[in-house]
């Protein structure tokens, strides 16, 4: 039986979405969001829409980088106010 790539991409997206729902801490949710983005870009590229895949990869990863900066800043402000630890 030949496993086509479309099945692997669908499993990537389903596990990424389930993981994003079931994890409790924000840092774990962002990791599952990256997996979901990977699956989406791969299935768009498999069907031949290469320019959509390139634009989508720009937006996904620049968005992840900006959210990481925001998460670190929020946690530092909370620590400074004394709400953690």
């Amino acid at each position: 039986m030949v496993i086509e790539f479309v099945y692997a991409a669908a499993i990537l997206m389903i596990v990424g979405a389930l993981g994003g729902v079931l994890q409790t801490r924000p840092i774990d949710k962002f990791l599952m969001l990256a997996v979901l983005g990977d699956g989406l870009i791969s299935i768009v590229a498999t069907f031949g829409y290469l320019d959509v895949a390139m634009a989508s990869s720009f937006m996904t990863f620049v968005g992840i980088i900006i959210m990481m900066i925001g998460l670190v800043r929020v946690l530092e402000i909370r620590k400074m106010r004394g709400e953690i630890g």
């Binding site: 499993i11 990537l12 596990v15 990256a34 997996v35 590229a45 290469l50 992840i64 630890g85």
Partner: protein, 83 residues
């Protein structure tokens, strides 16, 4: 073809291992293997110059994103465990 089957099996194995493990920093190398697999599939399914360029752009941006995630995991660990 056989190459697509091999990469699909590798990706499915890696995503199951990523979902199961609890240690956050152990998940990063599994995410890196998934990035390699997706970059390979983009070129294998579109054997043209634009497919190669899309694969290169995707892979470089995914590596910078994984760098940001690993940096944030270490920063969160430092903030929560009291420096």
């Amino acid at each position: 073809m056989i190459e697509e089957t091999i990469i699909a099996c590798i990706i499915i194995y890696m995503i199951l291992r990523l979902f199961i493990t609890q240690n956050r920093l152990e998940r990063m190398p599994y995410l890196n293997v998934i990035n390699f697999g997706v970059a390979a599939v983009i070129t294998l399914k579109n054997p043209s110059p634009l497919g190669a360029i899309t694969s290169m752009v995707y892979f470089i941006l995914a590596t910078v994103g994984a760098n940001a995630i690993a940096f944030t995991i270490s920063k969160v660990k430092e903030i929560e465990h009291g420096d």
